[in-house]
Subunit: 136 residues, 2 copies
DNA sequence: CGTTGACCTAGACCCGGGTCGAGCATCTAA
DNA sequence: TTAGATGCTCGACCCGGGTCTAGGTCAACG
């Protein structure tokens, strides 16, 4: 029989999150979890539903460029429990700003790339001879 | 006296681009330049204005997440000269798509982060007790 | 003169973030 | 009962992208 739906093995968590077992164990070693990952009688990891929820946030943080070290700091704050919410908020806001910045940077790059794409399109459209972008 | 404005030393290029000498030399070794970097009589690098222009594009590519290997492929195409513009265009378009994707991903992350920021703000605003985001 | 500063090469090192493998334990199904 | 999954730990490895060092050349300045 299977355990309660919120008692997941590492393999199940992999399946749900797309992370590899290796990565999951790495994250644990690196202290990214906001609560000790429990073990069953045989020493195997047991993840709860909220461990997974937390992981999903971690994945968002990663996908938005937050380094593991920052996630660890955040996790530590959560582990310490009630009372430091303003610090957590500060951290989140700082990361938010980084992400906004990054989007702006990418958008600026995109404009440049689009410009160059336009140049090439035009060049090709008119079967233009002569090198685009070569030494003068 | 100084050389023509378009004949730059590596140090001058660093100053103009913000890249370190190390990085500039690395980029050259890695074949990122679209034209051989010339040398003066003493073996010192001499950069032309368009080398710098090219570098500026490279920096945009990097900033938008293009790996060095891809920049190298692009540079090779340019080095080969006239005739492969459609391939270059394809490469640029593919990268463009990657960037657009990435912006979308970041925007999605931003929403999640903003949501969590909102949760914390509310929590703090009402001096709420009880842990936000702790094991149930 | 000698020292200072900009440059050269080759190669080592570093960091972040995984990814993999060896060697072992346990459960399950054929 | 034995093979196959699945899990465990620990430590090695890998990759991308720099960054730094040692040891050397040269020109110009005081």
């Amino acid at each position: 029989m299977t355990a309660a739906a919120s008692e997941l093995t590492i393999g199940q968590v992999c399946a749900r999150t797309g992370l590899s077992v290796h990565t999951l164990r790495l994250y644990e070693r690196e202290g990214l979890f906001a609560g000790e990952v429990r073990r069953d009688g045989r020493g195997r990891r047991v993840y709860s539903a909220w461990d997974v929820e937390w992981l999903e946030y971690c994945m968002r943080f990663r996908a938005s460029g937050m380094p593991l070290a920052t996630i660890r700091r955040f996790a530590e704050l959560v582990r310490q429990g009630v009372g430091n919410e303003h610090i957590r908020l500060k951290l989140l806001r700082e990361h938010r700003d980084v992400v906004v910045e990054r989007i702006a940077e990418l958008s600026a790059c995109l404009e440049v790339i689009d410009f160059k794409v336009g140049v090439y399109e035009e060049h090709l459209a008119q079967g233009n001879a002569g090198d685009l972008w070569g030494p003068p």
